[in-house]
């Protein structure tokens, strides 16, 4: 009886140790995916030709925007100001204080407007200006809505590398 008990306690101890290793790994994976970097699936026509219509897997990192290192030319993931549950991918065109000139309706007219980006805001535009709902429609967005910066494309493999 006593031998059986010690055998079971050894198995129990071993399984608890293994479960602890798995739990620690999952915690590390969660922290990395949320706060450091993770792969992200993006789709839509607004960033053609940089990103495909049907979907790309990009490696995005979540550290730069907390340090204030996001600048013009970066492709960023932002929370949409019109729908907080939606994440959109656009390129930063201007930071606070910069003057941005843009075509109001490029498919139909040549009219352009110039705005100064207010303090604490950024101006984002999709690369495909003919089919993009961006700052030309909803205005400059507060910097706090930026959630991450895109580093490189991971899938499809023939497009692997920086954008």
């Amino acid at each position: 009886m006593k031998i059986l008990l010690t055998k079971w306690s050894a198995i129990a101890k071993d399984s608890i140790n293994r479960a602890a290793i798995v739990a620690k790994f999952l915690c590390l994976l969660h922290v990395t995916n949320t706060y450091i970097f993770s792969p992200t699936l993006v789709y839509g026509p607004s960033m053609l030709p940089t990103l495909n219509l049907t979907g790309d897997v990009l490696l995005s990192e979540y550290v730069s925007h907390r340090l204030g290192k996001v600048g013009p030319g970066d492709v960023v993931l932002v929370q949409s100001p019109e729908n907080p549950r939606k994440m959109i991918t656009k390129r930063v065109v201007g930071m606070e204080g910069e003057v941005v000139s843009f075509l109001v309706d490029p498919g139909h007219s040549d009219r352009s407007r110039t705005v100064v980006v207010p303090k604490g805001h950024v101006w984002i535009q999709g690369d495909n200006i003919y089919a993009s709902n961006d700052s030309r429609n909803f205005g400059p967005i507060p910097y706090g809505l930026i959630q991450g910066k895109v580093l490189c494309r991971v899938w499809p493999l023939d497009g692997f590398g920086s954008l």
């Binding site: 929370q79 949409s80 100001p81 019109e82 907080p84 303090k119 967005i141 507060p142 706090g144």
Partner: protein, 133 residues
């Protein structure tokens, strides 16, 4: 945010689930990232959600002029309880819902943050009492 919170430091409990689920509504005291300085967190009360019509006094210390706005889609209108000394949506406009980071909790239990206090001038109340007596 007088008189709801003190002028000096005050410790409150912040819950972050409501703002993620979209359950934060009018009357809640929330913590949000300032749209003018992303490194700063400010505490304000939500006055209106998207689609609401807000009428506010533009400059309560100097004039009685009011303005009316409709809160756009995806945005909220926030104001401090102390409208005489608060830098809020009357200055920087409606803020996107995504900037809300958490709700002060509990809203009606101990500490009783509760509803927005009346903004009637206390001198007026004293005048009414002396007139009646």
């Amino acid at each position: 945010m007088l008189p709801t919170f003190n002028l000096t430091n005050e410790l409150v409990l912040l819950e972050r689930i409501s703002t993620r689920n979209g359950k934060a509504g009018s009357g809640d005291v929330v913590i949000l990232q300032s749209p003018e300085n992303p490194r700063k967190l400010v505490t304000k009360r939500i006055i209106g959600m998207e689609g609401d019509k807000i009428t506010y006094i533009v400059d309560p210390k100097n004039s009685d002029r009011t303005e009316t706005v409709i809160v756009p889609k995806g945005h909220v209108w926030v104001q401090g309880d102390n409208i005489y000394n608060s830098y809020d949506s009357r200055n920087f406009g409606p803020v996107p819902y995504g900037l809300l980071k958490g709700k002060i909790w509990p809203s009606s239990a101990f500490g009783s943050i509760g509803k927005r206090p009346e903004t009637v001038d206390p001198a007026l109340k004293v005048l009414e009492q002396t007139n009646q007596s």
